[in-house]
């Protein structure tokens, strides 16, 4: 990071090679849109380049600092009043023929996707970080500026909401 602060582009390129995919993955998980996630990845690294001289070593090092920038950028986007319509949310590409079970899968995925994107932003970020991105509870709490106990509260509320919105699918799985 000190080399980057001194304007070393080679060091900056190496930092991107190592961490860009992770940052974009986190942003994709939170924003549910690959294009927006790449925009966040770009803005995160441009900020790293501009602000590298302000970085001071702390727990988690530079990767944690970059994840914090990315999560904050994602939260800013989620807080914008005119959010993307739910229709624009990506569904995973599925090359298989559309048999009944496949259609049911798609319907289920769409319902889960819709339920996740409808969560309050901090619950959504907590859920994605801990469940999809494998971020530790302690780091997720740090990224959201809350205690570990408060993070648990966010996760409990997120799961409770998802369970109530997806009750048909949860019960369906229990019956099968």
């Amino acid at each position: 990071m000190f080399a980057i602060a001194a304007g070393n582009r080679r060091a900056f390129g190496m930092l991107m090679a190592r961490h860009l995919a992770r940052i974009v993955g986190i942003a994709h998980g939170i924003l549910r849109n690959a294009s927006d996630a790449e925009d966040v990845g770009q803005e995160t690294f441009l900020r790293v380049w501009r602000q590298a001289d302000r970085w001071t070593p702390r727990a988690g090092g530079a990767p944690a600092w970059m994840r914090r920038i990315a999560v904050n950028l994602c939260l800013d986007r989620l807080r914008k009043p005119a959010g993307a319509p739910l229709d624009s949310i990506e569904e995973p590409a599925d090359p298989r023929p559309a048999a009944d079970s496949v259609l049911l899968d798609r319907e289920r995925n769409a319902a889960v996707e819709k339920a996740i994107t409808a969560l309050p932003e901090r619950q959504r970020v907590a859920l994605v970080l801990c469940y999809h991105q494998g971020v530790s509870n302690a780091e997720a709490a740090d990224l959201l500026d809350v205690s570990v106990a408060a993070l648990e509260g966010l996760l409990v509320r997120a799961r409770r909401t998802l369970r109530s919105r997806l009750v048909d699918f949860v019960d369906e799985d229990a019956a099968s």
């Binding site: 390129g13 860009l20 799961r159 949860v170 799985d173």
Partner: protein
């Protein structure tokens, strides 16, 4: 220490997979499941919701898309740096960052006047040091034009 209440909270927050439980409580949580048959049913219910959440995890970005993005970031850096004005000399940049906008002009005007004055003084001393002893004596004796000639050189 694991309690019924704490175990319920653990599962309600982190689901059925012990790998997602806080590391400090993982062992106690597993132990609780082994000793309490009711916990198994609790985990089974949580596991169904876990499965639904897990199925919507977005795929990791491809190497090709990340290479293209890295190129875009470098190109943006180039464009932004090309659009920036040339870097200011360090003292000017430092003054700009530390002084109010109006003060910068005043400080540099005062500094310019001081530098001109210093230049005149140095010019005088240099011209005096370059005069010959005879000329100096003449200047001291006569003053006037001979002395002013030193400033104009």
């Amino acid at each position: 220490m694991m309690t019924e209440r704490r175990f319920a909270r653990l599962v309600a927050a982190h689901g059925a997979d012990p790998a997602r439980w806080p590391e400090a409580e993982r062992h106690a949580g597993r132990d609780w499941v082994a000793r309490h048959p009711a916990a198994t049913a609790e985990l089974a219910a949580a596991r169904r919701l876990d499965a639904l959440i897990d199925r919507t995890a977005p795929p990791p970005p491809t190497d090709a898309s990340m290479l293209a993005l890295a190129d875009r970031i470098m190109a943006t850096l180039d464009a932004r740096e090309a659009a920036m004005p040339p870097a200011l000399p360090a003292p000017v940049a430092m003054a700009r960052s530390r002084l109010p906008r109006g003060m910068v002009t005043t400080v540099f005007a005062v500094a310019a006047v001081a530098l001109v004055g210093l230049g005149l003084l140095l010019g005088r001393s240099v011209s005096l040091s370059q005069t010959t002893t005879a000329e100096a004596e003449q200047m001291l004796l006569l003053g006037g034009p001979a002395l002013t000639a030193g400033f104009s050189s």
